[in-house]
Symmetry: C2
């Protein structure tokens, strides 16, 4: 029989170890972030707004944080993932649309010539979006997105698109929520393209997703109510649209906002123009080896004016290459 | 020895009884509701969807409940309270608009002739709304609403409008939230007219308020970002608009919905057409002494088609006179 003293000591040691690991983890809530000015700015901001009695304290209901999605929470190269979805849908639906063989932008897409298809500019993109995102019920569209997300693979990494999310940003979402923040997505992407998977992937429920939308119609089909997606734009949640989307869906000003491109500039302006402590953060894609490196000249996720304004106003600019220990969850050892 | 079949049945009954007693008496979550079919339907529904392992169980994130506002959470007689706000604004702003003296619908309003002003129909209402709800920043409008709510008095009771809320519905909101529900307002009223006070009065934060809206514009004023309210309708969150507003703002189907008029019919249809346990409830204004009695022939809060459909489909219809012990919080002894 083990002497009781030793047993207790071992028990105590085990408890102490667990306790220390717990503490260590709590003290390092952002393990994929290297120590540096970005991590410091985040942690100091959170300490400031959560410290009761301090001048920077913000009550829990007002701790609103908004995140862009493409290029901020998940990757956006070599093309916006929603565009990859639309192209896959065009291919799937082509058999029902023999006329697409001779009709742009579909003809080029079906030949695999994406650049040729997009040469038609906004009009071409709109045609592709409407052909693939409208005409069905919201429930059918949701299922189509779920099926695609479960099967489609990224052309470079061979991973599912929902695996191409940024580990440091997942940790940041969790860290903010653990500190009483409500986290929202505010994206130029389609609101109904994101909602089917954001809860599982980011812990962000559908009612906290703001995005671009097309018009819808309510109707009874054989006595059963349905919401049908119409081929008409409703709202573009990008650039000056982002503060409007925030106002419409959230109804209060965020105290923290996270983006990566000029499409996020107005959201960051709106957020930082409020009173009290504010955090504005831009993810700068600087890592050509582990992810992509692009900014002022990129057609996808262009970061130009917002980079200048970030520097002028002292916003936090994440240098992906140096600030992030890990980029994607699948890299973790 | 008792046969096992009978024993199980008795055991089940005993457990059910204890559970019901716990809900109904120990916690007494709905003290202003008289015992009767309405209270029973509510309590049984909540028991069903919250009982883990039961076939009716609904996980917490999907416990979405949507409430109409006018006539469901607060009164709406002798006119929608937002119309009273608009009329008060016309009077306040009249000195800046000398032309209103000779221009309908303003001229009639300024003479105190509301019916004369509203004789102009939708066009007149729209003119009143735009003159009083547009042209300012969202922040200025919010302050105007807060000031009005803090000072304006109901013409019949002399109470503030936010005191004219239904005590049984406040208890219902609390009861649902205590059982893991997220409570939303889905109202034909203006979204920015409600948000400044719903958190304090109902415990419903701005991001859980869905309503009608006008268009907005983002702009920099002397370098400061502002959201400006434009004199153009954006969305009418009434009738078939309610399921669309729910889809746009919440992104999932409610499992419980609460209304009082034909404007809520489609929301109730949409809610009850989902799978699993559903609760659809209509507040029927039957108490001319303590509140008002009106339904099929009322111009405010008309309840006609929805009353027929409620009866046909077995929805819960609250008989205000008999189901509610107390109507307004200020009556409580």
């Amino acid at each position: 029989m083990r002497p009781p003293g030793k047993f207790s000591l071992l028990g105590f040691a085990a408890v102490a170890l667990v306790f220390m690991v717990t503490i260590a983890h709590a003290q390092n809530p952002l393990p994929s972030w290297n120590d540096g000015p970005s991590k410091k700015a985040i942690v100091e901001f959170v300490m400031k707004v959560t410290k009761e009695g301090s001048p920077g304290f913000v009550p829990v209901p007002e701790r609103i944080a908004t995140f862009d999605n493409d290029g901020t929470l998940w990757a956006e190269q070599p093309m916006y993932f929603q565009l990859a979805f639309a192209i896959d849908r065009v291919k799937t639906l082509a058999s029902q649309h023999p006329e697409w063989k001779d009709k742009e932008p579909f003809a080029s897409l079906l030949k695999g010539d994406v650049n040729g298809a997009l040469a038609g500019g906004e009009k071409a993109i709109l045609e592709i979006v409407m052909a693939t995102h409208a005409g069905m019920t919201t429930e059918d569209f949701e299922q189509t997105v779920k099926d695609w997300v479960a099967s489609a693979k990224h052309p470079k990494t061979g991973r599912r698109y929902t695996e191409m999310v940024y580990q440091p940003m997942l940790e940041l979402l969790t860290f903010l929520r653990a500190n009483g923040f409500k986290t929202f997505i505010v994206s130029g992407g389609g609101i109904e393209f994101m909602r089917p998977w954001t809860e599982e992937v980011y812990g962000i429920p559908p009612e906290q997703v703001v995005g671009s939308s097309i018009k819808t119609k309510y109707e009874l089909r054989n006595g059963q109510p349905a919401i049908v997606r119409l081929p008409e734009l409703n709202f573009i949640d990008d650039k000056a649209g982002k503060p409007l989307g925030i106002n419409s869906h959230i109804g209060r000003r965020p105290i923290a906002a996270f983006g990566n491109s000029d499409g996020d500039l107005q959201m960051l302006q709106w957020t930082t123009a409020g009173n009290g402590a504010r955090l504005a953060l831009i993810v700068h894609h600087t890592d050509a080896d582990r992810e992509w490196a692009y900014d002022r000249k990129s057609s996808v996720g262009r970061l130009d004016k917002a980079l200048d304004e970030a520097k002028a106003k002292g916003w936090t600019v994440v240098d992906m290459k140096n600030d992030w220990k890990t980029i994607f969850p699948f890299e973790k050892r």
